[in-house]
Every structure is written in C-alpha cells, then in structure tokens.
C-alpha cells in the first residue's frame, strides 16, 4: 500500500490492529478488482439472457436490472462480502482510535492553542447548528456514528476514524494526505483556467479538510475556508491542518445557508459532497454558491460518475443501497446543469464536463479509464 503520512493526530495501531487494517485492504482489493467485474459477467451471461427469455425483452432501465441482479447468487454473495468488508474497515480503525482517544483529544487541544497564539488557522464551532436530516438519518458510508456523533467532550474520534478509513477504502490511492480529490479538481482548474489566481477560497462539506489543505498548499497567498455541519470532524480538521503546518479557517456551517457575506469568495468548491445531500438541498447549495461568489468568481464541484449503460448505472448505485449513500441513487437522474440554473447561474456560464486527469503513477490505478464528473460555473 502506498505511504500514508504520519502526523500527530493519528493513532498508532498495535501489531494485530495493523494486521487487521492490512487484511481489509487485501480483501477489498480482491472484492473490487477481481470479483466486482464478475457482476458484469453474470449480467451478460446469466441474468440478462434469462430476463429476456422470461419477458421477451432486455431490462429497460437500471431499476429493472436491480430487480433481476439482486436475485442472482453470485451478485448476492459478492455484494454481501463487499458490505461486510466496509464494516470490517471501520472496525479496524475504531479499535486503535478508541484506545488512544483521550491522548488524541489532548494533542488536538494543544495544536489548537498553538494556532490561537500564532494566529494562523482558526476553528469556529456552532453547537446550535441543526444537523440536516440527509446527514444524520443514517450513518453515511456505514461509519458508526457518522461524521457528527460526539462520544465524549471535545471529541475528534469521527475525524480520526474517517481519515484512516478513507485511506484504507481506496487502498492508499487517495495519496499520502488523502489528497487525490483536491488534486483532481486543482488539475481541472489549472487545465481549464490556467490564469485563475484565487484570493479567497471556500471548500464546502470539507469534513477533515483533506482537500482544503491541497488548495491552501497550491495557493499559499490565498485565504482558505472550510465548512461542514459536523463538529468532531472539524475539530480534527483544524488540529490536522495545524499539525501539517497549513493554515485553514474552519467553521461549522450548513452549505445551504452560510453566514459569509455576499460575494465573499472568488472560488467555491466541493469534493464529492453533492451526492451526500438531498433533492431540496442541492439547488439551495448551488444558490448559496451563486450568492457567495463575486463577479467572475468560479464554482467547481467534483462528482462521481454515475455510469452510461443501465448495468453501469446499477453498479454505480451499489453504494446507495449498500453503503448508506442514500442520495447518490437520485443523482443518476439529476441534471446538474439544470440545478445550477435553479441556483441563479446563467446558461452560458455553466458546464458539466468529464475529466480524466493525468496524475502520477501511484494514483493511476484509480484514475485510469475513470472519468470524473465536474460541475463548473462562472458568476
């Protein structure tokens, strides 16, 4: 597995805990790389032919594919194992985190005190902020407690668990600082808008600030802000950014309605966040982006592709039904450009594009033949 940078906010696994995390990576590499392609084969060789024999025609949409595939024994077994691997993934990170939680909280406090004195990065929490239903109804990605649950005072556990969890989820392909998502959107900006030099950047739904840090490193002269609704990931994000020596301003806010001034930013971003929201929140978030951008400011949202053929669409929706990514199922049908227009952007300034960035070898495993979806709009 590619290197993962050690910093002060990471728990140190015991010998057995390390072996569990390594096992989860090996298991998931097999499930995704070796068995997942089998689902396409059983569809082609078994499910689609018997559906056609019984109904006189092929499945007409991804919901019909779903109805037929969930009865297939190979698909059932792969799917059940994929689900269990996600549960094992979190368990393997929760154990060492729980054991070292109190000392990690102390470290986060001393990093925050040092930041207060140096006047670099900041953290502003709002305990009165209501959690949106789409965020708290189920634990997203099956992380027990989600991004938001506080298990003790000044809790950072959700952030600690999420950081190592997404590192394992991608078998290290997210990079040494879980930086891949930020790198992809940054590569898009540099290719399409080479002269754009942002002064004030906002990262929506920033969680642990892994992408916020990418932007702060890329544009050291810019002020970078990150918002999220969940306090424990923000406490961790602040401590982590300080441990890495990168100043970011984090605050607990809902991207549907922030307390920043109109036109406060020239670059507003999100990294695979929109599919975790809801039908009603999505246009409100894009409307808020429109309000927050100054004239000629730029909005960039990175999204996961949702497939072209009906079997691809069905497979891309696996996470919706099995990994608590409830809203992503609806994203298959949503026209992001239309949503941006609802938010106040003008037709000629909005673009929904596919982007396959050229990245270094360590990241190619994931990015090769994988076209990311990007919603871009100019104010």
């Amino acid at each position: 597995m590619p290197a993962f940078n050690r910093h002060a906010m990471q728990p140190v696994p015991s010998l057995d805990e390390q072996a569990r995390q390594d096992f989860v990576c090996s298991l998931r590499a097999h499930l995704s790389g070796r068995l997942m392609p089998g689902a396409y084969k059983v569809y082609e060789h078994r499910v689609e032919p018997s559906f056609r024999a019984a109904n006189g025609q092929s499945p007409q949409d991804h919901e019909e594919v779903r109805a037929a595939m969930t009865l297939d024994p190979f698909y059932q077994f792969w799917s059940a194992m994929q689900r269990r691997s996600q549960e094992l993934l979190w368990e393997s990170v929760i154990d060492p985190t729980e054991r070292q939680l109190l000392s990690l909280i102390e470290t986060s406090k001393s990093l925050a005190r040092a930041a207060d004195q140096s006047g670099r990065g900041t953290l502003r929490l709002d305990p009165a902020l209501p959690l949106p239903r789409y965020h708290a109804a189920v634990d997203i990605h099956l992380q027990p407690g989600g991004y938001h649950t506080e298990f003790t005072d000044d809790d950072v556990a959700a952030g600690v668990v999420y950081d190592k969890g997404i590192n394992l989820y991608m078998g290290g392909a997210l990079g040494a600082e879980n930086n891949l998502m930020g790198d992809i959107l940054l590569a898009y900006l540099r290719e399409k808008y080479p002269d754009f030099r942002p002064k004030k950047i906002l990262d929506l739904g920033c969680a642990i600030g892994n992408s916020s840090v990418v932007w702060a490193r890329a544009f050291p002269e810019a002020e970078v802000y990150g918002i999220d609704v969940a306090a424990p990931v923000l406490r961790y994000a602040h401590a982590r950014a300080e441990a890495l020596g990168v100043p970011v301003h984090f605050s607990q806010q809902n991207a549907e309605k922030t307390n920043f001034d109109e036109g406060a930013f020239d670059l507003v971003l999100s990294h695979i966040v929109l599919h975790e929201t809801s039908k009603s929140a999505l246009p409100r978030i894009l409307g808020e982006c429109h309000r927050l951008l100054q004239k000629d400011g730029l909005m960039l949202h990175l999204e996961i592709p949702r497939g072209k053929s009906i079997i691809e669409k069905f497979m891309h929706n696996w996470e919706s039904y099995n990994n608590n990514e409830t809203f992503s199922r609806f994203m298959t049908e949503i026209d992001l450009k239309a949503e941006a227009l609802k938010g106040g952007f003008v037709n000629r300034d909005v673009l929904v594009g596919e982007f396959a960035p050229k990245l270094d070898v360590a990241q190619m495993n994931y990015a090769e033949n994988f076209f990311w979806k990007i919603l871009a709009a100019r104010r």
Binding site: M1, S14, L15, D16, E17, Q18, A19, R20, D22, F23, V24, S26, L27, A29, H30, R34, L35, G38, K41, V42, H45, R46, P73, F74, Q76, F77, W78, S79, A80, M81, R83, R84, S85, E87, L88, W90, E91, I94, T97, E98, R99, L101, L102, A137, V138, D139, L142, Q143, P144, G145, G146, T149, F151, T152, D155, A157, V161, Y321, N322, N324
Partner: protein, 124 residues
C-alpha cells in the same frame, strides 16, 4: 494475545461499532447473512494470527530470546511487507475459489452448464 495485556485503562467513552441505517438482507435466509459476516471476520482473524506468527518466526530467526515488548514494537521491513502483502493476496484468492469457479462456469463457452449430476455423467 498481548492486546489485552498492553491495553491501557479504558477511555471514558466507548465508540459505536454499528452504523445507523437498516442493513440490507442479501440472502433469502437471514442466517446466511450472519454466517457470511462471521466467516469474513474469521477470515480476518486468521490473517491476523498468521501475520503474528510470521512476525514471531522472523524474530526468532534473528534472536535467541524474544521479549513480548520486543514483538509488540516490531514492524516488517519494506521487503517483508511486500512478501506479506503478496501472501495475503494469495490467501484471499484461495478463499474466494468458489466464487471464481462459478464465474468460470458461467463464462465457459460451448459447454453445457454443470447442472448435470456427476453420477449421471458416468452412469450411462
């Protein structure tokens, strides 16, 4: 194992181990879901045990006496990590043989499916 020995006083708060949200049922009998979950956990723990043994063997090869603290703080060399990763990959491959067998059968062209009872095949 030494996890229980090296564990410091429990923190005040326990973290959750189960995610909120209805768990899908994958098989017609829910017992099969539970069995598969347990099997994968056993698979994980066997992997953990094998790696621990591997650590011990490597240490024993280089030292005459192994203190428990010494084992606990041991980490594989880059070379050993690569060897262990390859061994894990092979182990998972072995365990998944039933799945690959099914795939092979489905995609094998020009031969009838193995619905045929082996006894029928030799009995006539």
């Amino acid at each position: 194992m030494s996890d229980s020995i090296s564990k410091p006083a429990l923190p005040k708060s326990r973290l959750a181990r189960v995610a909120k949200g209805k768990r899908p049922q994958y098989f017609s009998d829910p017992a099969t879901d539970k069995l598969l979950s347990m099997t994968l956990t056993l698979m994980e723990e066997l992997s953990v045990t094998r790696e621990r043994l591997d650590s011990l063997e490597r240490l024993l090869a280089s030292k005459r006496v192994v203190a428990l603290e010494e084992l606990e703080s041991w980490t594989p060399s880059a070379e050993a990590a690569l060897e262990r990763s390859a061994a894990r990959t092979a182990y998972v491959e072995r365990l998944m043989r039933a799945m690959h067998a099914e795939l092979e059968e489905i995609t094998r062209r020009g031969t009838p499916s193995s619905d045929i009872d082996p006894l029928d095949a030799v009995g006539s």
